[in-house]
Symmetry: C2
Subunit: 380 residues, 2 copies
Amino acid sequence: MAEVSYAKGLEGVIAAESRICKVDGENGQLYYLGYPITELVASCTFEEVTYLLLYGELPNRDQLAVFSAKMRNSRDLPEPVVAMVRDFPASAHPMELLQSVISYVSSYVEHRIHHGPHCNCRDTLHQISEIATVVATYQRVRDGHDYLVPRRDLSHGANFLYLLRGEDPDADEGEMMDKALILHAEHGFNASTFTARVVASTMSTCYCSMSAAIGALFGSLHGGANEKVMDMVDAIATRDNAKEWVNRALDRKDKIMGMGHRVYRAKDPRAIVMEEYLQQLSEKKQDFTYYEILKEVEHAFRERMEEKGKPIYPNVDFFSGAVYRLLGIPTILFTPIFAISRASGWLSHILEQRSDNRLFRPKALYTGSGPRSVVPIAER
Amino acid sequence: MAEVSYAKGLEGVIAAESRICKVDGENGQLYYLGYPITELVASCTFEEVTYLLLYGELPNRDQLAVFSAKMRNSRDLPEPVVAMVRDFPASAHPMELLQSVISYVSSYVEHRIHHGPHCNCRDTLHQISEIATVVATYQRVRDGHDYLVPRRDLSHGANFLYLLRGEDPDADEGEMMDKALILHAEHGFNASTFTARVVASTMSTCYCSMSAAIGALFGSLHGGANEKVMDMVDAIATRDNAKEWVNRALDRKDKIMGMGHRVYRAKDPRAIVMEEYLQQLSEKKQDFTYYEILKEVEHAFRERMEEKGKPIYPNVDFFSGAVYRLLGIPTILFTPIFAISRASGWLSHILEQRSDNRLFRPKALYTGSGPRSVVPIAER
């Protein structure tokens, strides 16, 4: 059936207009609403960036105070949701829990959500705030603890570390976690964001759209790259093994995780920031193991690529897993943390989709059987 | 930004190849895997059609016996899922519950689901079977009852009525419910099925993909048309009001729900079957109110359309709501019943997507701000 051509995976196909995100791959720049990611990380909190994504402009102090209070007031979990987390089978993945919780949570939102272009979801920020609480509570239950009431005096990132640890994170680590969330908040029409837009295009609720997006992020072709980078780091174990490990992997034509990016021809700007964080944390913890292994991998990989004239740089996933590990975060939470962060981008896209909506309903190219008659079961 | 043209809502854009469904709108035919829907309804059970959708061929007796046993053994709900249903806020919609439950259920599935092109989801049919149990249990709890253990000696449709009613449905009604599920099991790349495929394309699990599809079906532009038809019927109240009501609505340029279909130029073949069911049930219950109102609406509408030279026919939603009502099913369950039925189609598409996968990742047309600098918050 190759007579009709089409773009598999909709590669290169424009699905909608968007004002939210621009990736300038040639120059290694990423912009949210026109602001370079590096400036946003340098000057803003995750709450400010979330405001930017939902309203299109950065807030002034008064606007931020109101918005931040709303986000923080939405952190608590209703008791039946805590029960879901407690009862969740130990062998299952927290992304399944998260997808489930977010559509469930919508039924506890005080102001009901309307099926229309306008809803009150900028006011009921449970669908962003509670994701962090669910992820932390999942881990607390695994660790033999129970639900801890979220703090309202901490940033989104610092509160997450507080819930995980059961004690205040120091200011540096709280801020670093908050900044890491900014780095992953938005990246255009990836599969999860596209899923959120498709679901939103039916005039389903924000919560149901975000739940669907979480389902997409769970896929191994989407989330999880930083987990695999850390699997590699664990397999390499010491810096002295790194070069040989990389060379052998490349000889086998294995992929080196965290290297290269579909869009960036220059270094991923988020990777530069993450590498700085990793350096800072390694210094602070006096543990350079991950950092040294990663840098060895990067050099060995670059040498091989330069032989071929292919400059390929590390992406953000290359360093983020090691940063999370040094912050004491278990590997199984890496993809859920991606969801905590990307929630802001998803909601931004859902609102944009609704503001000028057309139901997504592409065509299939039928390649199946011609008409045939049902043979009664007795004769099959 | 009209310089670059693109198809809004991906209208007319081929997103993938598919062997599953063919709609011949000109001739009013719908085929699943090449079989006309009218023949499938006449000769098969919902379980047979589900087998067809998952395996591509109709089962013989032995194959059906094995498959049917699997589906029936997967009907029960784990206790924590029953607790979710019990605790579900009364004001919320069962579609939110359903979306939540299906990703949650995946964690209770005995054979773990793999993130790859091959998984065991044809064997663990909870993601199809439990949808019916959750919907029925939701209604039972609303009615002041509790979880009722599903029966294994009844068809999928009859068991659903049994759970709703707490007593055996008579054979005709059980069969009619089962056939109604066949009629809605599959219809190509609608928004929910497309959602299921996008999520599946990340190699997320079947359960998480189906949960996402439920979120899309919940949207008022997708599911819910038969609910709106019954709202119209309720507003009209008696057959004598129908003609005037339709004429006034058309004068106001209001849409008449359940009339016309994007694809069918002839009568929707499913509508023909549904109308027969409505006739049979009206006869049996000796209650022709809905049927008479609907037929009056159809005639009044057709007269007006013929004046304009536009032959527009009723679609399946035009009659299905009245059928469900006469079966004693509350209106809030109409969209959930659509999900019970379409679950088979979704899983069929998920399996097909995986069998020749490419991650869905379309492009956005950037229409946002040029680069700008972050102004510190104190100066905003």
